[in-house]
């Protein structure tokens, strides 16, 4: 039997201010054995990160441990000398802010290694080189002399893994370390972390809301909800056993399974929007950076085209050009509606709306919900107080919100509510086409699912045409009838979703599918 390295029993953590006290973690029990990979999943605010902080005795101000204890190797964590760093390492969510921006990678590595006097036989430089090799960064030119801002998100996360691993801790806590990384890079980072983990047999606590990654990499899973662990079992049982069916469906666990939108027989093939030969480049005559190269797409009436690609592949640039808020270098945009045909659309059209990824950043923080919905109506010249009020109330109802949010400021709404509000704003002028730029990537899986379901029902009800942009193929496949794969500004593959997912031609598409869907034969 494996030896437990960490044992949490009856843990209660509360946050208290002047007159209120709120329970953050309640009656939490958890055992982590040597070499274990434990996945912790849960919605935002379920207490996952707080659990990580409690383990390393780094609770934020105002929060404290009320009951229970956390034992590391049989000893209370408060009594363990050098608990943080040497015994337990934590890799944080936002790597860019976890590294010192004014120091080189070498200096930051050296500081850690020197502090814990590891690898005394090797010289300091050799030790750092060894770890850079292990995280496959040694091929990057002058990696030692670089500053954090000179590295990509994936590279920084590798440095963080090296920093956490080089002290040879007994436990590593990885808190949402893949958030914000592309699907391919996400897998590379996870492969690396888990291969190093197997090598050193360190226990790994992997906190994430990405069910696909948890399912792929962890041996055991604990599901958290409102500060409690509501289920803990082997990964296989959690994802397959009937016992956890209800929990699974409440969390939107279906995501990650290969399921897609099929075209109904005899559905129309009328093109409403056709972008032809779109090009966009930045820079000057001598050095040009082609962001979008000869891209052509067609949007069919009442259908969804999913546009998938990694960050920097030109997805958002293409969306901006279709919206006509960014000039294109060349290309033609033909809009065909029941009323009009525009051969080359060059100004923002009332028929095309947009919903953006960053639901907080896409709503003006100084406006309340009512004003946000009023703006598009004003811009389209719709007048009459009664007409406007009715329209806003109907729209709010359509997207599943209550009238009482109309007076609230956007920061007081939840992520899902904000995204519904963005959707209401996009639809209030009754456009025919809506562009979604990563609309669900900042949301929890279960909220993602609800939003996708809402989009589907609204599409059917109002015969809307969607262009759905995402880096997550699993989300795209849930809603899109057609898929186009954008790679370095070019469309490398496109067609029916079913066809692309089952029979991808391009290597890149195959990799994307592998990194987005659960394969039984992993």
């Amino acid at each position: 039997m494996k030896k437990p390295v960490l044992k949490i029993s009856g843990l209660d953590v509360v946050s208290s201010s002047e007159n209120t006290s709120k329970t953050i973690l309640s009656k939490l029990n958890l055992v982590v054995n040597k070499g274990d990979t434990l996945g912790i999943i849960g919605e935002t605010g379920s207490g996952k990160t707080m659990l990580g902080w409690s383990i390393i005795n780094l609770l934020p101000g105002g929060c404290f441990l009320k009951n229970g204890d956390i034992k590391f190797n049989g000893k209370n964590t408060f009594e363990v000398k050098d608990l943080r760093g040497k015994n337990i390492s934590m890799i944080f969510q936002d790597p860019m802010h976890s590294l010192n921006p004014t120091q080189t990678i070498e200096k930051q590595m050296a500081d850690i290694i020197k502090k814990w006097r590891i690898g005394e036989k090797n010289s300091l430089k050799d030790e750092i080189n060894k770890w850079m090799g292990k995280v496959q960064l040694n091929s990057v030119f002058d990696i030692m002399g670089r500053y954090p801002h000179q590295l990509s998100g994936g590279q920084i996360q590798r440095v963080m893994i090296a920093l956490a691993m080089c002290v040879r801790p007994k436990i590593i806590i990885a808190d949402e370390i893949t958030t914000g990384l592309d699907a391919n890079i996400k897998l590379e980072i996870m492969d690396l972390l888990f291969s190093l983990q197997k090598e050193t047999s360190v226990a790994l606590i992997f906190i994430s809301h990405d069910l696909f990654l948890i399912r792929r990499y962890c041996d055991r899973v604990a599901i958290m909800n409102s500060g409690k662990i509501i289920a803990e079992d082997s990964t296989k049982s959690i994802f397959n056993s009937k016992k956890y069916k209800e929990i699974r469906s409440s969390m939107g666990v279906n995501f990650g399974e290969k399921k897609f939108e099929k075209l109904e027989k005899g559905s129309s093939e009328r093109i409403v929007l056709a972008a032809k030969g779109f090009n966009k480049s930045y820079g000057n005559k001598t050095k040009k950076n082609h962001v979008v190269r000869d891209v052509s797409i067609n949007l069919y009436s009442g259908k969804t085209l999913g546009l998938v690609g990694e960050s920097g592949s030109g997805k958002s640039t293409l969306a901006k050009m279709i919206l006509n808020i960014l000039d294109r270098d060349s290309g033609q945009l033909k809009l065909t509606t029941d009323e009009t045909i525009i051969e080359d659309l060059r100004i923002p059209s009332v028929e095309i709306s947009v919903v953006l990824q960053d639901h907080l950043g896409s709503l003006n923080p100084k406006m309340n919900s009512y004003d946000i919905l009023l703006e598009p109506l004003e811009l389209r010249g719709i007048k009459g107080k009664k007409i406007i009020e009715n329209r806003i109330k109907n729209m709010i109802h359509d997207v599943g919100l209550n009238n009482n949010i109309l007076t609230r400021m956007t920061h007081s709404l939840s992520g899902g509510q904000r995204q519904r509000l963005s959707l209401a704003r996009a639809m209030i002028t009754e456009p025919k086409i809506i562009i979604f730029d990563e609309p669900t990537s900042a949301l929890d899986p279960n909220i993602q699912k609800r939003i996708v379901d809402l989009l589907k029902s609204l599409q059917k009800k109002k015969n809307l045409t969607y262009l759905f942009i995402s880096h997550d193929l699993s989300v795209i496949s849930q809603i899109s009838h057609y898929v186009a794969v954008l790679y370095r500004g070019k469309i490398i593959e496109s067609g029916l979703t079913e066809k692309i997912l089952n029979n991808p031609k391009q290597e890149y598409t195959k990799k994307l599918i592998e990194s987005s869907f659960w394969m039984e034969n992993r």
Partner: protein
């Protein structure tokens, strides 16, 4: 510790705001309630000239026998006029230019910014000095001079803040719905940048007083019979060794007013940052 600090900060804010409020009110009331109100119109009492602070004359008297307390308090009208005048003019000129520059195309933006750079290339006191000497010494010309020299800072601040707003999702969405530059400025930029402008304006108000006192001191600002702190100091500087109170009290009020505006500006900044964080 945090609560102790915030308590101290709150007290400082209360004291400074109260100081400025009482100063403003009493300066307007001085001509009506001071027993030495005629001194404000240039009355001379040689029999009581150069008296040190006493119960009759709290801040002493100057070489013409005028009551320094009455003069010092009344002089704050000029200073407050300068503070508000300069800040108002600078904002009125600078903020619209900055916002228009941010929403305009690159060419216009470049031209505006280079002109702004040209203004900013002058050392802080040289341009107001030049302008007031061309327009002639008076308090209004001091306001114009300082404003012309300071508005480029407001162009900079409002432009940089406006550019931040321009890069947000809600402006993109607004533009995709056909919003023009004026709509974006009115609905999105202005409501999101006015707080930083007010913070800057509060801090600048203090420095405007300091600059105007400096200009008056070298004879380019307020002139007799106007009463102004810088002017009071320059009139008394020859007797500084023997009659310290004539320089000390106006000087003291300059310091207190500038520090008060700075504290209010800082507190405002902290308050707004906290509000944004929460």
């Amino acid at each position: 510790m945090d609560s102790v600090l915030s308590c101290v900060n709150k007290k400082a804010l209360l004291v400074t705001s109260l100081f400025l409020f009482v100063l403003t009110i009493s300066s307007f009331l001085t001509p009506f309630i001071s027993p030495y109100a005629e001194d404000l119109n240039g009355a001379i009492h040689l029999n009581i000239a150069g008296q040190s602070p006493s119960l009759q004359h709290w801040f002493g008297t100057d070489t013409a026998g005028r009551d320094m307390f009455t003069l010092t308090i009344y002089a704050s009208i000029s200073s407050i006029k300068v503070a508000f005048g300069v800040v108002f003019l600078s904002i009125m000129i600078g903020v619209p230019i900055g916002m228009i520059s941010a929403v305009s195309n690159k060419k216009i933006d470049n031209v505006v910014m280079r002109i702004t750079d040209g203004f900013l290339a002058f050392p802080p006191l040289i341009l107001p000095l030049f302008i007031t000497s061309v327009l002639g010494p008076s308090l209004n010309n001091v306001i114009i001079g300082i404003s012309i020299s300071w508005f480029p800072w407001y162009v900079r601040i409002s432009r940089s803040q406006a550019l931040l707003v321009m890069s947000t999702g809600y402006v993109s969405v607004s533009r995709s719905m056909g919003a023009g530059s004026f709509h974006i400025i009115k609905r999105h930029i202005l409501p999101n940048i006015y707080e930083s402008i007010i913070i800057q304006a509060t801090i600048d108000a203090g420095y405007a007083i300091l600059t105007s006192a400096g200009l008056s001191f070298i004879g380019l600002g307020a002139r007799h019979p106007d009463v102004e702190w810088g002017l009071l100091i320059t009139q008394a500087r020859a007797q500084f060794i023997n009659h310290w109170w004539e320089v000390f009290f106006p000087g003291m009020f300059i310091i207190l007013t500038v520090v008060s505006f700075n504290i209010i500006g800082d507190e405002l900044k902290i308050y707004i940052n906290q509000k944004e964080k929460s």
